[in-house]
Amino acid sequence: MRYIKLSSENFETFFNSLKGWGKIYGPVKRGSIYSFQNVERVTELSLDYNRTMLPPKKFFVRPRDTMFRLKDGKWENGAGEENFVLFGLHSCDIHGLKILDKVYLNEPADPYYKVRRDAALIVGMSCMPDEYCFCKSLGTHFAMDGFDLFLHELPDGWLVRIGSVRGHEIAWENEELFEEVTDEDLRHFKEFEERRANAFQKEIPQEGLADMLDLAYNSQVWKNYAEICLACGNCNMVCPTCRCYEVCDNWINAYEAVRERRYDSCFMESHGLVAGGHNFRPTRLDRFRHRYYCKSYFDPSAGFNCVGCGRCDEFCPARIEHVKVLEEVRGSLR
């Protein structure tokens, strides 16, 4: 990996140079929450954000997404995508995209996802955990790939890691903005990472988790939480790895229809419903457990489906905490 330094003075010029790739989307404060929005000027960014409400999946799997247009009885594909820059992604979100890649780019690749993924330039950014973060215990607190450039905060600028050929090209074209990394920078980088590692307040011990959860299938804890849960589906919407979608055809006028897909949530009763009225997950308990098992599935090639971003905890109206549920379920085995 190539490491270079971007000084604070050059940050704005660097930011503006990214517009050469495409529109820039970065974290912006909206009321009390953060959100990835189109930004024109550096001053609009909130770089000290903890987490956005919707993860960057919204750019790749859109909340409402037109797949086809019906014209003269035939489905037509939409146009291609414009290039865009995702600026300031935290490493958990980069890991989230990698998990989505495993699903959507698996053969046959989803063409809508793929074209957007190819169009996106991803600029990561270091962060400090807050009371909801537990990415360190899942190993998703540091991204080794899945980005083009990754900026690590230094007292007088940024240490930049280059993660792709595209990232190299951008650094190459803007060579005058960057300087070599000094020993002092490396010391600051190391100090930052150490400080960050000690700042985590939550963790989930991975050891044997998948097995323990499976064994605790009939645990009373699931039932207790299913009582508290409102089944609103917020956790699905804000999860960087939740990806269920529902497809519907909508008529926009008498002659034209569109086939759209939109986010679906496994907390909705219709999620397991099939024609004829049989429901494979009829109770809230089934649906609650299903989400936790889906997130905690240990894929031997990819690890857990959860990246520890803490969104489901922060945005849960019933204040259910993901880690606490899993800990209690595990504890109930004794």
């Binding site: 959860l213 024609a275 494979f280 098992y293 599935y297």
Partner: protein
């Protein structure tokens, strides 16, 4: 954009046949001869039917791959989409994409006995196996044990009655169970008292002997049926690896993206659409919630 896997191919409805008051059999052929040529499938696979402007739904293929040039779908009128397709006539065009799923490993089973256990609409995917086995002639003996509500609900009634009468010449024995008594059933029972009875599908196992080392079982039916049939087969010492079942879930994409058909727990997650819909009983033992 390269080839879009969600794009459906035009297929014309060649024939619509009423099987029962609720089910119709649609015979379809792809408009594009190239697509028609390329479309090969295994028994147990399914397609997604696209009624443009109204939506998509998954249906299992009920014709046999040995009968080329057309595909057949048996569709029950149960919801908005199926009500719509039931109104369609011969000559109209729908979209088809697929085939999806793993299908039954028919080659592996050559030379064996096959027991097909069907309940209600579960007959549709097993009809594909039935005709594949009979047409190919590569299987020792085929039993079809078919349970329905009433005489009126027997799908493919002509074929079933034909096989009741003449099945032995094709190495095939058919047995029927019905729940609701009616004159037609009693008439049928009178003719084939050893093979038609009032009861449920598991009653049809009575009196049948099969070589457990050379037999495969296929199950398809309503969700409640599986565990009773499996118990019956396990009691007869059939290995779980020889029990194949095909399952149903809400499927939107057919290719493992939309997430509706995910089943399992933290140690084993399966997508019914791409890892299935055909599973063995071993899979059901290792993946919770499969049946």
């Amino acid at each position: 954009m390269s080839e879009n896997p969600y794009q459906t191919h035009d297929a014309r409805i060649l024939e619509v046949k009423d099987l029962t008051p609720r089910e119709k059999l649609f015979t379809l052929r792809f408009l594009d001869p190239e697509v028609s040529e390329r479309f090969t499938f295994k028994p147990g696979q399914f397609v997604i039917v696209d009624v443009r402007g109204f939506g998509e739904f998954p249906v299992s293929l009920c014709s046999s791959p040995t009968r080329k040039g057309y595909i057949q779908l048996c569709i029950r009128k149960v919801g908005r989409m199926t009500r719509f397709i039931h109104r369609m006539k011969e000559g109209e065009v729908v979209g088809i994409r697929g085939p999806y799923g793993n299908g039954f490993p028919m080659e592996m089973m050559e030379g064996s006995n096959l027991i097909l256990v069907a309940g209600g609409l579960g007959m549709a995917p097993l009809r594909s196996v039935l005709w594949y086995a009979i047409d190919s002639g590569k299987y020792e003996h085929v039993w079809l044990l078919y349970g329905t509500k009433a005489y009126e609900d027997i799908l493919f009634r002509d074929e079933i009655i034909h096989l009741l009468k003449h099945g032995s010449s094709m190495n095939c024995s058919v047995k029927l169970a019905y729940e609701v008594e009616s004159p037609s059933c009693i008439y049928l029972e009178g003719g084939f008292s050893d093979r038609v009875c009032r009861g449920v599908v598991t009653d049809l196992f009575r009196g049948e002997e099969f070589d457990v080392n050379n037999t495969y079982a296929f199950i398809c039916g309503p969700p409640i049926m599986y565990k009773f049939v499996i118990k019956e087969l396990l009691d007869r010492k059939l290995s779980p690896g020889r029990i194949y079942m095909t399952l149903e879930r809400r499927m939107r994409c057919g290719v493992g993206k939309c997430g509706h058909c995910i089943v399992g727990t933290s140690t084993s997650i399966k997508y019914v659409c791409k890892d299935g819909p055909v599973f063995t009983y071993w899979d059901a033992l290792s993946t919770r919630g499969l049946i």
